[in-house]
Subunit: 233 residues, 2 copies
Amino acid sequence: MSYGCERGDNDVVTGRSRRLEYSESTRQALVDSAVELFTKRGYAGTSLDEVAKRARVTKGALYHHFSGKQALFEAAFDAVEAKVMGRLGEIVTAPGDPWETAMAGLRAYIQVCLESSYQRIVIHEAPVVMGWERWREAEEHFSFGVLRAAIELLVDAGEIEVVSVEITTRLLFGALSTAATMIASASDPKKTSADVVASLTRVVHGLRLPQAVRLGAECAAESKSSGRRSRHR
Amino acid sequence: MSYGCERGDNDVVTGRSRRLEYSESTRQALVDSAVELFTKRGYAGTSLDEVAKRARVTKGALYHHFSGKQALFEAAFDAVEAKVMGRLGEIVTAPGDPWETAMAGLRAYIQVCLESSYQRIVIHEAPVVMGWERWREAEEHFSFGVLRAAIELLVDAGEIEVVSVEITTRLLFGALSTAATMIASASDPKKTSADVVASLTRVVHGLRLPQAVRLGAECAAESKSSGRRSRHR
DNA sequence: ACGAGTACGTACCGGCGGTATGTCGTACGG
DNA sequence: CCGTACGACATACCGCCGGTACGTACTCGT
């Protein structure tokens, strides 16, 4: 990349030498390799030699860029989360009816959870490898933060009523995590996915305030978008 | 078989020689040691030499009783689950109002989840160490099975309405698991615990049928048509 | 009493995470 | 233009740990 520039303005402006570019490239290759192997064989089942080999470097290079196996895992974690957040963020922050937006976000997140990298690295292994406390802290900046923002939106819009936003968010997050695992290991992921969305919709529906339902519009809109198969009156 | 009466009554009844008793005793010591160390330092952070040392035997003895580290972990897993099931089972199977029984079971399960052994071994590490599929299979015979039975009871009693018992159970199980972790790592576990129960009660309340409790008439009418086929599995 | 089998202990191997050290190229000051 | 300091790796090695092979003492049935 940018070979032709040959000491062009780009390098001068960014202050990045060719050396730094190479370095960043190998680092990225290591992270990519780590994501792939951690996803396929898990944290314990992946050796650092293997990760380095797949990135076409040696373990020495790996230890130059990362302080150890844990640090490499966290880099892989961040990479997966960053990729996911791009797609998810814009859906939730999109303008429009809060209820509709929330439901779209729910479906989008379940879709994200079907990705094997996200499932194994972020959901399953991360709490064990990084420790739950650190995992929770990291999640604040990623999916968990988005989820809470969505719920706060619903509460502020007077759509639903909860005892505590923090606790509700965490409970829902746990439910979504297991839902993701369930869907991924189901014989018919498509159908299971639809059933999960239906169940969750039913649950969240139970939290709706009477005055929000009485408006009627959202209810109809939600019915229409939630699925061609469930609700007819 | 059934050798002479010259032994004590205990041996005759059980048919166990003193040698077998010793063997069983060391095996139990190994399991106890494993539960303790796996709880404190996790699966990866625990060495078999350490487990054996704490049980006052060597690694050879350990490998005589268990095929490897995984098998030892599963034995520890079973031990923790068995201990938990004793307390939990009788609460859920107790006669009385289904709703009250379910709520008592919910509180009891959260109490169980506060135990560090259950939390770390069963909830956090087991899915990673045993693999999710095997973990799920094992859980069928333990806490998950109890939880589903409780929900089926509520559904059959006409208390609540769900889209699918299986999915609802799994979602609730996931929510409870994260709730447990949240409570355990909270600065004020007592208060957090109470808030969690309140939030969950609120959620389950949203699933109640109109004849069980009256609130949100319009919403109830809409949701009635959504799940007239609640029992299928 | 004596072979057989059980319940361990002992010694060792291979793999893997981590470290210490060497090497090569590039940026940089004089 | 040249030495030099430093960054980006490679190589060699160590210690721990899971797993295996084998030895041994004790018991049990005949």
